[in-house]
């Protein structure tokens, strides 16, 4: 039996059926896999926060190695002593602070509302780490990260990630050779909260100068690098009132 596929009524029925079938298929898939995906995202955030404070499985130089997902929850509660929500120079504890979506909070701030800014206090081998989250724009899409600081506002470690930066170029912000450069840099310039700039041709490719508030940029990723520097600056400015209360002068 040949169907007359040119008839308008057939076209409309076909299109409607297709939408219903595809919609149902995708909706059931999304709700079926949803909890598993949420859990993966939660683990990833814990891994990232721990990574920034140096709790990871990195060996020498090379690739990024997180705490495995089956252990991350235990390690997270082990190393992260306090989860805070910061408001100006005040802070209160909130054990779910790591689930706060930075993007939403920054949007609230932009509209002049009162945001909940999360900050994590970690302890490792007797040292205290203050881990600051950040969120900004790269070339194509969102970039975000975590930066751990000590009481002197010296970076102890960072983790950056991105949604859609170009592979081989901007996507390299999550490579060890870029992130490791931040360690040891001060976010202060005198007593000003300057952040850490991403600079081209600063004659310091080995990053020996740790007091210049600069790291070497990635070739071919100018806009991602600038976005990242702006993100770091925004975040330290945002947290400055609270960081001032813990800073040892």
């Amino acid at each position: 039996m040949a169907i007359n596929t040119d008839k308008n009524s057939y076209t409309v029925i076909f299109a409607s059926l297709m939408v219903v079938v595809v919609g149902a298929l995708l909706a059931s898939l999304a709700s079926g896999l949803g909890p598993k995906i949420k859990e993966n995202e939660r683990f990833e955030k814990q891994q990232n926060i721990l990574y920034a404070m140096g709790v990871n499985q990195n060996v020498d130089e090379g690739s990024v190695n997180f705490i495995p997902t089956d252990r991350v929850e235990a390690e997270f509660s082990n190393y992260i002593k306090k989860q805070l929500v910061v408001n100006g120079n005040q802070a209160e504890e909130d054990n779910e602070a790591y689930l706060i979506d930075m993007k939403k909070q920054l949007d609230i701030l932009k509209k002049g509302g009162e945001a909940k800014l999360p900050l994590f206090v970690g302890e490792k081998e007797g040292k205290t780490f203050y881990i600051v989250p950040m969120y900004g724009k790269g070339l194509w899409d969102a970039i975000w990260g975590f930066m751990s600081l000590d009481e002197h506002m010296v970076v102890q470690g960072v983790y950056f990630d991105h949604k859609g930066e170009t592979p081989g170029l901007g996507a390299n912000i999550k490579q060890r050779y870029f992130m490791d450069d931040f360690t040891g840099e001060s976010i202060l310039d005198g007593s000003r909260y300057a952040g850490v700039a991403v600079v081209k041709g600063n004659n310091d490719p080995l990053n020996k100068d740790k007091n210049d508030n600069e790291v070497d940029a990635l070739a071919g990723a100018t806009i991602t690098g600038n976005g990242l520097a702006a993100m770091v600056k925004e975040s330290v400015t945002l947290y400055k009132p609270y960081l001032e209360t813990i800073r040892k002068k």
Partner: protein, 215 residues
């Protein structure tokens, strides 16, 4: 090949060389330029397209007699988009790390002109088995070029392959870099892909004169 008739085998072999989607038909160039700065990304993209084109061609071929011709492009888009979303969601749930590497390509796969091109030119007019072979063949032809371009761009641009340094360390000047060799920064930006693809086209046509178009 005993498994396939000669005609069927050609469906796979043709797009690998004499009817390659990138070098002969010049389709799928945008993704070939965008993601080939690294070998790993090229391989991941090649596998993703292999899956989407193989399955998509079969689905479209099975539906070829009931698709209203007026909205066939929309139907094709829906099929590609659905497949890509399914793959993305399943990976996010069961292979989270891999899904993060892939996320960049999801949008690129949907807009890849090779996929729409094969649906339109082949799957709509042929049976599912032939369409499957055609999809696999074209995806392989696309993937081979992607991997060749990715190989040269990563090697010459960053001195690494799959992220592992193969030429020594450019900063501390070891290995090949000790002789004064430098990475070519041009190779990691997209125009370099155009030049590499151009060289592949040149080599291919100079070896097979039948491919040269007459003016």
């Amino acid at each position: 090949m005993a498994l396939l008739s000669k005609k069927d085998a050609n469906l796979i072999l043709d797009p690998l060389a004499d009817n390659n989607p990138i070098t002969i038909q010049v389709l799928g160039i945008c993704s070939a330029l965008a993601i080939t700065a690294e070998l790993k990304a090229s391989i991941v993209m090649a596998i993703s397209v292999l899956f989407v084109l193989g399955v998509g061609n079969v689905v479209i071929s099975l539906m070829r007699n009931i698709i209203p011709s007026k909205i066939r492009i929309i139907v094709q888009l829906v099929v590609v988009a659905t497949l890509v979303i399914i793959v993305d969601q399943v990976l996010k749930a069961f292979a989270y790390e891999l899904s993060k590497t892939l996320s960049v390509f999801v949008g690129l796969i949907i807009t890849n002109c090779i996929i729409m091109g094969r649906f339109e030119a082949f799957a709509l007019g042929n049976g599912p088995w032939k369409a499957f072979l055609d999809g696999i063949g074209n995806a392989l032809g696309y993937g081979v070029i992607l991997i060749i371009v990715g190989f040269f761009r990563e090697l010459l641009g960053s001195g690494t392959l799959m992220g592992y340094p193969v030429l020594g360390d450019p900063i501390t000047k070891t290995g090949l870099y000790a002789t004064g060799y430098e990475n070519n920064g041009f190779m990691i930006i997209p125009p370099a892909a155009l030049i590499v693809v151009g060289i592949i086209i040149w080599v291919q046509r100079s070896r097979n004169k039948a491919l040269i178009e007459e003016h």
